[in-house]
């Protein structure tokens, strides 16, 4: 999904000369085409993310569309106060792009695991948050974020994620969840690259006779309230799936909606990182198991409720 972002950005930048790309000395080889075509609008801000965020805001306030790119933690948590004050308060047209979200940089270790950014960024006013599940969603949200002139955070995976969708998504509407399959017993709401695990779990559960719906949420803020409410009424169980801390992230956003519903409603199980740092490293798939957020754990959590 990283390449889908880059390709979409290159396409947009060919048309719109107001697009700038700032990188925090990150993305080796990734932006060669962008640099070649837009040498004057590619700026390596160095390993200095606080300044990059502030510069992005200033550049945007002068009428430019600024994409600011680095590893997810560095472009979000590292400079969160600049994001709040310089970008969000000023409603600056900055698209903050974080790559390698969740535990996708598995063996690199905790410093490179981006597992609180969703929670932290959700609390920033004026900020829209996109968390694509695959390359198609990545292209769709990049274009959608470009079309609005307010601050956005685009949370990408590391790259080479398996596809969830069969074809490209045209004219994605911000704030809409996308139905992958329908069901009546359980609804799985998933965001980001972990959605492939949610898809595998959905297939397994349906095979077992538990009618399971699956929605991906390319937008985490604003949330698709309508879909959450509808399925919370319709199903016995809702499962939220994310590669982020369970506190304050996507599952919390789902919980906030369900808790405001009056009357009979589904019970919510949040599949997320359980507010901990693991002491081990390993591949992305390995760590998803360590953190109990893989397909297998999603299946187990649902099975338990339908025994």
């Amino acid at each position: 999904m990283r390449n889908a972002f880059v390709n979409t950005l290159c396409k947009l930048a060919a048309e719109d000369k107001k697009i700038f790309l700032l990188v925090g000395d990150m993305g080796f080889g990734v932006f060669d085409k962008f640099r070649k075509d837009n040498a004057d609008r590619f700026i390596n801000a160095g390993i200095a993310e606080q300044n990059m965020a502030a510069v992005a805001a200033g550049l945007a306030l002068e009428g430019n569309v600024v994409f600011a790119y680095s590893i997810a933690n560095f472009t979000s948590l590292r400079c969160i106060e600049q994001i709040r004050n310089c970008i969000a308060y000023h409603k600056a047209n900055v698209k903050i792009v974080g790559v390698g979200s969740g535990v996708s940089y598995g063996s690199l270790g905790i410093t490179h695991h981006s597992t609180e950014d969703l929670s932290v960024m959700r609390t920033v006013p004026n900020m829209k948050i996109f968390s694509p599940a695959d390359a198609y969603e990545s292209a769709a949200v990049t274009e959608a974020a470009y079309k609005i002139d307010t601050p956005c955070y685009i949370r990408l995976g590391r790259g080479r994620e398996p596809l969830i969708h069969q074809h490209e998504i045209k004219n994605y509407t911000i704030g809409k969840a996308i139905k992958i399959s329908d069901g009546t017993d359980c609804a799985i709401f998933s965001t980001g690259a972990i959605s492939y695990d949610a898809l595998k779990a959905t297939t397994a559960l349906n095979a077992q006779g538990i009618s399971t719906a699956l929605f991906t949420f390319p937008t985490v803020k604003p949330m698709d309230i309508q879909v959450v409410e509808e399925y919370a009424r319709k199903c016995k169980m809702i499962v939220s799936v994310e590669e982020n801390n369970t506190i304050g992230g996507f599952g919390s956003a789902v919980a906030e909606i369900i808790s405001s519903l009056k009357g009979e409603k589904a019970f919510l199980k949040r599949i997320a990182i359980n507010d901990e740092f693991t002491g081990v490293v390993g591949s992305h798939d390995y760590l998803k198991n360590v953190y109990k957020i893989s397909a297998e754990h999603i299946v187990r959590a649902v099975e338990k409720e339908f025994e």
């Binding site: 700038f20 004057d40 609008r41 700026i43 801000a45 160095g46 200095a48 606080q50 300044n51 965020a53 502030a54 510069v55 992005a56 805001a57 200033g58 550049l59 945007a60 306030l61 002068e62 009428g63 430019n64 106060e81 600049q82 004050n85 310089c86 308060y89 000023h90």
Partner: protein, 268 residues
Amino acid sequence: MKSEILAWNIRRDVLDMVHKAHASHIGSAFSIADIVAVLYSYFADINQLKTGDKERTRIILSKGHAGAAIYAALAEIGIMDRSELQTYGTDGSKLSCHVSHNGVKGVEISTGSLGQGVGMAAGIALAGKKAGLNYKTFVIAGDGECNEGSVWEMVLFARQQKLNRLTMIIDRNGLQALGKTEEILDMLDLESKFKSFGWNARTVNGHDHAALKEALQDADEDKPTCIIANTVKGKGVSFMENNNLWHYRDPQGEDYANAVNELERQRP
């Protein structure tokens, strides 16, 4: 308006604003009053500021806590309504004590958390350079503010991008929140620091209008410029000068009356 008159007016307005709002940071606003006055008097086209012309001079306050001086200047040059000044820091006002652009005409950006306005200023200067515009960007920062690492990230960046139309003015009053800068995080020789970071830099008396006017014209073809302005915190009211109590205290009763009297005696 002659800058000496504007500077006096700024101090006189600020005194009443801070007094009325029971606000703080009067010492900081007095410290930069001359710098602000010189900038608005000689380096900005007021009509361009009024219309928001894309070639207007960008005057940015990074040490947002001295915001009262900017609001006062904007009222004095006719960009802000004088009646609005009276609301400074009070219930429902848009004039927050740390300078805000939100609904406030003439203020470029909001600051208050230190070390951030300088980076935004660099972004604004970069935008002008990329667009082939000729405006200059002036950003006022504090010497205490230079404790922030993000200031030095900007200093590296501005040199790398050759932001030759960016001028940073450091209000070098030697005091920060809890005491003397040299006793907290000593900034030592700022001029040589900036020179070693590849900037054009010089030091002037930050209350000498002629010297400021001359120094602020400084420019280099491919370097940003830093003017270290030696100032006195609380400048203009003897009992506030170099006294950090006036980073916090608002002048009331006898203090207020004495401050008014002192300023009135200096009326240009």
